[in-house]
Symmetry: C2
Subunit: 304 residues, 2 copies
DNA sequence: AAATCTATATTCCATAATGGAATATTATGA
DNA sequence: TCATAATATTCCATTATGGAATATAGATTT
């Protein structure tokens, strides 16, 4: 295209201001420049388009036919510039936001502290978090509905990139009213004789547990109840005579405060890894890097 | 609106060139500026929008998400600038054009010489001419379908401005075969005894003639034929025994070459004025002023 | 691994553009 | 005719621009 004689947007803005504010002097006031500068810009536009865009009407100026066409162009261009600035502002805001999805257990027990710490350390950033099942979390991540996920299983989606976050363990626990409170290590054969309250069969934790038990020849435990919330399970154990397998990070506080008891099993430890997952498209996200940095800092404190 | 940080179109054009031509150096070549100038313009756009619009991809640049939005804006703005320039070019061409409408008689006998003279004197201008009846000519003029008209009656439309062009006369003429060929002045009473070929009843000339005859008490002449073309009437007179009233400017040549005879009528001369008409909206037309100037020059020569 | 090539980024400097103060010009109203 | 209001022009100090020279960074070749 022709690269000569392209006007400046400030010149077009000046023409618009002269028309819409009723004169050169008013336009100068609105634009915070001198009246001679306004006149010069109008002359520069005339030169640019090779035609007179305004003419005297008494001691005022009015648009010529050519000027009307340029004025309309100026409005179009400047209105789109405003829209563009709005779009860029949204984009800028989006760069400081992170959409995080986590499993229910992580959401209940780990996320609150993480979010509080993050807000203190990075006030310019903002996290939007949601809890869900592992499969849905992976789907959202892969389709761009979230930016980062904390998972209890390694995702198997080709678009998702993972890095190890934490080691964790599923531990067998009971309340004070249970006969195994304070017991020594029990054999694996004893597991069939206990009554269980467990998490939902679709939860990550159950999938890991079911696999580990199959590995030692136990196809099915005597499950009295399946409950969605690990906090609810903890309360039920404390009041009743059931046991449960729960993530260590979910019961650490209860073990320390002696409201739950960790029943050790001879020859069996169910270890697993917690993962940080995201997609390739936001590898350059500063807010994601900051969040991961904080996750690592907190994992050092958690292990101590 | 916000008047700060408005980019230049040349900066937007530069961004577009970098994207569409595949790099900074290619864009510099296309725009006939140096490679550092291209880089600086990209940096200026970054500053303008407060965001990086391009990023390194190896040793090449690619658009960021923000840059894509600005690039789309650049295309919109520059494409509309091209359209605007086309519009202005049409407008510029229109300023050198004049749409002229004239009555049939003027069109046949005066306009050809006028147009030839005008084309020689003002080669940069262009005239589009049409012939028609006086009423339609006035209507076209008033509604902007033409710019200037040459009329044989003073127009009565409020939007139309007129200035006198020429004095003219309707003269009674006959051919060599007519008994009045070479006659002395005839009395008005003799008019009823002649046979006439006249122009159409709606023509300006007929309207003027009919009024003049009514003024002397003659309601109707013995009209053998009504013919649209004054040239055709002239030919019929030269071959037959009819007479006709025709404008002097239409028969001057025939009178001089003795192929028609001017029959003078005792106590009767039918004078009229030819008019130049236009509307207020093109009073500033340079080409109209030039044409009128030529009309006046030619009227001096015609009277001699 | 080092040298070379290619593309963009930065520095320095001469030139051009810009905007304001002062003043001139033009049109309107009293 | 004079005063007022609005725009246009001149002069000048300051800022912006673009190119030459050079630096930096990544890719390719040896």
């Amino acid at each position: 295209m022709e690269y000569r004689f392209l006007p400046d947007l400030k010149h077009l803005a000046t023409l618009r201001a002269v028309v819409e504010r009723g004169g050169v002097s008013e336009a100068a006031r609105a634009m915070h420049i001198g009246q001679p500068a306004v006149t010069k810009r109008l002359r520069a536009l005339d030169a640019c388009y090779g035609m007179s865009l305004m003419q005297r009407d008494g001691r005022r100026l009015e648009l010529t036919t050519a000027g009307t066409k340029v004025y309309n162009y100026a409005r179009l261009v400047l209105d789109h510039q405003v829209s563009l600035l709005d779009d860029l502002e949204l984009l800028r805001a989006g760069k400081n936001k992170l959409r995080v999805e986590v499993t229910f257990a992580i959401g209940e027990h780990m996320l609150p502290n993480l979010l509080l710490s993050f807000a203190e350390s990075y006030p310019a950033y903002r996290i939007e978090s949601r809890m869900g099942y592992s499969r849905r979390i992976q789907r959202h991540l892969a389709t761009g509905l979230s930016d980062l996920a904390l998972l209890e299983q390694a995702p198997d989606h080709p678009e998702i990139l993972v890095q190890k976050w934490l080691d964790d363990e599923l531990v067998l626990v009971c309340g004070p009213g249970h006969m195994l409170w304070g017991s020594d290590m029990i054999p694996m054969s004893e597991l069939d004789n206990l009554r269980y309250v467990l998490s939902e069969s679709q939860s990550s934790m159950r999938l890991t547990l079911d696999k580990a038990l199959r590995d030692i020849g136990i196809d099915q435990l005597p499950i009295t109840m399946e409950v969605g919330s690990t906090d609810t399970i903890v309360e039920m154990l404390q009041r009743g005579r059931h046991v449960s397998f729960l993530p260590r990070f979910a019961v650490d506080d209860s073990l320390i405060s002696n409201t739950l008891y960790h029943i050790k099993i001879q020859g069996l430890r169910i270890n697993r890894t917690l993962w940080i997952a995201r997609t390739r498209s936001n590898l350059n996200s500063a807010v994601a890097e900051a969040f991961i940095h904080l996750l690592r800092e907190n994992s050092c404190q958690t292990i101590q």
